[in-house]
Amino acid sequence: MEMMKLSLGPLQYFWPREHTLAFYREAADWPVDIIYLGETVCSKRRELGTRDWIVLAAELARSGKQVVLSSLALIEAESELGVLQRLVDHGDCWIEANDLSAVQLCRERGVPFVAGPTLNVYNHHALAMLMEDGLRRWVPGVEQGHVLLRELREAMRAEQCEMPELEVIAFGRLPLAFSARCFTARALDVAKDQCGFRCIDYPDGMPLATREGRPFLRINGIQIQGEEITDLGPELPQLRELGVDVLRLYPQAEGMAEMVAHYHLARRSPVAPPRIGARNGYWHGEPGMRAPETT
């Protein structure tokens, strides 16, 4: 059986320019097959501009990685559409389409794309339509577990549609919601228009706890993530059996090299690794977070 590929999902946080460049210089030597680059959360984050990401994409491609340029999950301004248009026009890379605007621009230009986790594909018919539009790989949304994927795969087979590559979020904090509002700015009591790019001070997001001190969510600009760093390592045999092609690992500020090494070892082993992060309830058809009594 073919070995599952490893991908580095797009960096969800805002890191200083040198920190980001150093991270990807290291990643060039990691055993990952695919690297997603670009800003998916907030267009005001410009430590790396569009041109920088494209230059970085070319460098990483030279070191043998497949590079995919990721688009914003929420596009509101004309300037944000302009950036998307530049990514699509670049032409050398597939695009991770995180909203319908990106799908449409890829479709109009004939650029292959990956359907990102915020695109809302829940059934085989939607997937087949997007394949007509140029979809090559699909990252299911965070709330979709193994039952839904199995049923979808069977429905594709029944309709004699070939599955695209299937990429599942294996490691990282799950992106749960996006807003027009910046929650980091709100927490710091500054206006979004004068935010001072303060999310750069929170390289793993800003922790949000319940009033009884239970860690609950992470604030990351306009994005809300689950607090728990999910880990599907122990489920790898099931993922393999389901035909998952790519395991997505979301960058965290610390320990990413070790995490990649852990998954690299695990993907070559018939034995499932121990769990080193949190169980992802969604995968099992349950609430995404752990129930309080099991913490």
């Binding site: 509101e76 939607a126 919601a177 807003s179 927490a187």
Partner: protein, 360 residues
Amino acid sequence: MRVQLIHVNAGTGNDRHDAPRTPSFEVLMQLVCPAGNLPALQAAIDAGADAVYAGFRDQTNARAFPGLNFSDDELRDGIAYAHQRGRQVYLALNTYPDSARLPQWYAAVDKAAEFGCDAIIAAEMAVLDYATRTHPALKRHLSVQGSATTAPALRYAHERFGISRAVLPRVLSIQQVERLCEGSPVPLEVFAFGSLCIMVEGRCQLSSYVTGASPNRHGVCSPASFVRWEEHDDGRRSVRLNQVLMDRFEPREPAGYPTVCKGRFEVGGEIFHALEEPTSLNTLELLPRLAQAGVAALKIEGRQRGVAYVGSVTRTWRDALDRYRASPQDWSAQPRWQSALSKHAEGHQTTLGPYHRSWH
């Protein structure tokens, strides 16, 4: 009696480009009101709604709450009631079926066509595609759950599914709405009043993260079956969603419904509404700008609300719209309208929400 001046903006994409851009006596934004059940539908129609939107009593729509929505017979009766008065009924089919459940959504589309609904409001590609192929004469509106915020996204839905209208997510500023009206291939509907989802609709997993019950898949957000209120000896109350503490309230402090986005949490050592206060969207003062931008329809949120809410909010907006039509130059948001609307707002507070930059 009120003159019916609707539908000039409500037809195909081509209509609206022929329509005047400035306010006129011929063109008026349509008022689209919520109908959680037959009495609410009748109340909305009686109070002057140009159209109502409703759902079946199952997970095919995003307000799949117990005791709400329509049986087949009730929907037929509701459509008859509306059509006799020259008004329209839209059917919300705006959740995301997985492969195994698609037939149920397709059957709901068939019923919408058979019963004579004036349009379906849908978000999911398979549902829209089925409607396009099977019932091409049944109009298709892209739901707010479809998360289309740009001209290319709207182009996609227009080219792929021939939508004749799109409902915009509640994330855009008034300037962005105005620009989108210029670049959209189809007429646009925007939210005017009601509970405010602060997350991009169709892409919020906060409820499912905590409870497993998903707005997209099950048509519910933070359902009541997961809510537990606890009374403490000192008179304070706590509220939990699937055991996760959403908020605590002092003895006489008003308490709202515990959706995750409106809870109080601790961030950086402070406890506050980290995501949003309990408040409602109210765009009344923007009415002239929305009309001048060419917005085709104003939507009132609240299929889960009762007859009193629907009647009063509809009547207020009807009056405001009629006054605007009669005399656009002299129009201003009247205090009695604002006070009527505030009574029905969450926490009796209203906001311009994302329409105004300061909210962000």
